[in-house]
Amino acid sequence: MSDTPVLIIEDRADIAARLVDAVGATDGVTLVGHAMTLDQGLNMLFDLRPRVVLVDIGLPDGSGIEAVRACVQADWPVDAMVVSIFGDETRVVEAIQAGAKGYILKGGGLDQIGEDILTVLEGGSPISPSIARHLLAIVKDGTVTTPEASPLTERETEILRAVARGYKRQEIAGQLGISAGTVGNHITNIYRKLEVGTNMEAVARASKIGVL
């Protein structure tokens, strides 16, 4: 079985180097390209057809969200993950609603980055307490406007609440009597349900909630 191709779109050379190192240090994934700008990244995305894209949001020629959308609309399976310094919910939620499958921390350890990539590939998505609380607020406020987005199930809400209280995936799995993988799948489903596509207004509104 061949390694999963990964594309990195990051303008800061040091961070990019770190991400490259992390991908290189992780078994099962391989770097196929590194873009410094959004334009270059989009070109490489369609040329190289990677399975995973790690994209920074603040790129010099545009927002990394555009690359996330391009991944959603791509005709081959490709998961986008945003690269964040702190994993702060405002930007990450915006990216998740655009279709990102998760986020990785720039400052995280190399093995942590690799683990997060693999988690996404296995069907789970990383999530922080802050992001979970924010997603709960979005559902409660009814800012999810896509017709296909159904309300979260009771189990999904339960999981989000537990994450928001600081519990880890394994702990939640233990409390609910399910596997950690199932918890990850639930989180991926939640992300999918909260995806608003191109509804920028909803994204903007959702983004505001966290800071108000």
Binding site: R12, D21, I85, F86, G87, P129, A164, G166, V211, L212
Partner: protein, 607 residues
């Protein structure tokens, strides 16, 4: 409904006739003896003007009504003895007082004319006081000759009269004159003033025809009041008689229109019937002989006016709910009194020998106009009251709305303030995030990829990055302390695993700080962070238990513990715990630290 109408109609008739009877029984202006005056009730009636043949005549004298034109006369003579008369001595001025005559007289005393009638003036409603010149009062016997003039159609009338000193008779005459023509003249003046006022009001408020009808009613009333007040006839007997009697009918028609407009009743047939009948009557009178003018006018108007008056009364009764009880009582009382006065007057005018001598019909327009003015004033007062209530209600509404507006302005200002704060916080966070955060991460990445820098610098940078993350988390999660603690856990997880320490995470409730806010949350996060850092550095533990409920946040470890009394020495820095205590005080939490060989427990109790 019909049965009720019949009952109400009979009730009204009984009521009005009852009032007329009451007025009749009051017998106002009854002619009775005056102290100090000689009352003349017996005299002689002459068949010719020279009084060659006489017959005794008892007063009152009436002649039957006859449908003849022109004037008729009666010649009367009587004598008064003056037993104590002293020739050439100054006698007290004497007078003759005739309370009621119809229509006019010539008076001779001892053959000298002292009072002559002056056509067309008729004194049918005027009490006559004739001072007698001293020169005529000579001799022990005074001979008085009276020629009584009048119209055959209304008949002649001479009631008992008085001979006495002028000073004795003058007050009686004044009193009777006041209630008779005096009151009629007063009412006439009042009607003219009211008419002018009402028509002026109407000219400014054309939509409210009630003022017009009432003003015209006042104008019409002047017609018959002039007849009662002055006795002058203009345009000949026939026209004048038809005119003043028709004025009464027109007056009633206008009152009917006023009431209909005022009460906004849809019933129009009474006034149409009234107007048509009146026009017909006018035509009949114009083409009838002069001698029938009085009879036709009085009967015609009677037949038109009395039913209309009753219709007004019945309408008022049936629609009494449209008026306030007081308004109804005043108007109904006045209207029925006016009708009663009318019936009493007809008895006086159209009886050959009426048993009452005082005309009271001049009171009718006074009573009616006062009632109408009362209604208008009452409506004005109600309107003013309504206006005041409305104004008060509007003021209340304005106050309420102002208060609401003020409140919403305050809310708006608060929202704007919060927005401004949030915007500023966003900006600061963005600066921290992209600026310092980005540089710290880049520096760490550089050091890592180039393998430069020593461990101390690297740890310092990592601490700075964690501290920055803690600040950002405090700002973003100040409204949920468990989420903030969860973020703290996420940030420290890697550090803890490096040292082989695991979290035992126990969150049972959401604590709320006494004064929630980002800075308070940051204080709490720093306390917990300090406690965890101390465990990593000093405790030698492998588990940190975080227990949270609504009132308490507890950080425990299973390390070796320390002696809190000696913590200032050796490797436990005093300022770490002192800082935790200081921060606890500032967030309103009670700080509690216990430590023994099984571990250390730090509790924060929220008050």
């Amino acid at each position: 409904m019909n049965g009720r109408l019949v009952r109400v109609s009979f009730g009204m008739m009984a009521w009005v006739f009852g009032l007329a009877v009451l007025i009749y029984l009051l017998d106002t202006g009854r002619i009775r003896p005056i102290p100090g005056a000689q009352m003349i009730t017996e005299l002689s009636i002459c068949h010719t003007q020279d009084c060659s043949t006489v017959a005794p005549q008892h007063l009152p004298l009436f002649t039957p009504m006859a449908p003849n034109a022109g004037t008729q006369a009666r010649y009367l003579r009587f004598e008064v003895a003056q037993p104590n008369a002293r020739p050439n001595a100054p006698a007290e001025l004497r007078a003759l007082y005739l309370p009621k005559i119809s229509d006019n007289i010539d008076l001779w005393v001892n053959g000298q004319l002292v009072f002559a009638h002056s056509p067309p003036r008729r004194l049918w409603n005027t009490p006559l006081l004739i001072p007698l010149p001293e020169a005529t009062l000579q001799g022990e016997t005074l001979q008085f000759d009276i020629t009584l003039y009048g119209t055959p159609s209304e008949g002649l009338e001479l009631q008992p009269f008085y001979y006495a000193p002028l000073r004795v008779l003058a007050p009686y005459q004044s009193w009777r004159h006041f209630w008779g023509p005096g009151l009629a003249r007063f009412t006439l003046g009042l009607m003219i003033v009211l008419m002018a006022a009402l028509l002026v009001i109407w000219s400014f408020r054309r939509g409210e025809r009630e003022y017009l009808w009432l003003g015209l009613a006042c104008a019409t009333a002047t017609g018959f009041l002039a007849h009662y007040g002055y006795g002058y006839s203009f345009g000949g007997y026939k026209l004048w008689t038809a005119f003043w009697l028709t004025c009464v009918s027109i007056y009633v028609l206008l009152i009917l229109k006023f009431l209909q407009g005022f009460l906004q009743l849809p019933l129009r047939w009474p006034q149409i019937t009234h107007a048509v009948a009146l026009t017909g009557l006018g035509v009949v009178i114009l083409f009838s002989p002069s001698g029938y003018a009085f009879s036709l006018s009085i009967w015609g108007n009677l037949l038109i006016t009395v039913p209309s008056g009753f219709v007004v009364l019945i309408m008022l009764w049936l629609n009494r709910s449209l008026l306030t009880p007081l308004d109804f009582c005043v108007f109904f009382g006045c209207l029925s009194t006016a009708l009663g006065l009318g019936i009493y007057e007809v008895c006086l005018l159209y009886t050959s020998a009426p048993s009452r001598t005082m005309h009271l019909f001049q009171l009718m327009p006074l009573v009616m106009s006062l009632a109408c003015i009362w209604l208008i004033l009452s409506r004005l007062i109600h309107s003013l009251h309504g206006y005041e209530t409305l104004t008060a209600s509007l003021n209340d509404t304005i106050e309420l709305k102002s208060a609401e507006l003020e409140e919403s302005f305050a809310e708006l200002a608060e929202v704007k303030r919060r927005e401004a704060i949030a915007e500023e916080r966003d900006r600061i966070m963005l600066d921290l995030h992209d600026g310092i955060g980005g540089q710290l991460v880049s520096t760490l990445a550089y050091m890592e990829s180039n393998n430069t820098g020593d461990g101390k610098i690297r740890r310092a940078l990592e601490d700075a990055l964690r501290d920055l993350a803690l600040m950002l988390d405090s700002m973003e999660n100040h409204d949920s302390l468990v989420t903030l603690l969860g973020m703290l856990r996420t940030r420290l997880e890697g550090l803890l695993s490096e040292h082989g320490i695991a979290f035992d995470w126990q969150v049972h409730g959401e604590p709320v700080l006494p004064n929630p806010g980002p800075s308070q949350s940051l204080h709490l996060a720093r306390i917990v962070q300090e406690a965890i850092t101390n465990v990593i550095k000093h405790a030698g533990a492998d588990t940190i238990t975080i227990y949270v409920n609504e009132q308490e946040i507890r950080i425990s470890d299973n390390g070796k513990g320390f002696d809190p009394e000696q913590q200032a020495t050796c490797e436990h820095p005093a300022n770490g715990i002192a800082n935790m205590k200081r921060r606890s005080t500032s967030i309103g939490a009670e700080f509690n630290l216990t430590s023994d060989t099984t571990g250390t427990h730090i509790s924060l109790f929220l008050k």
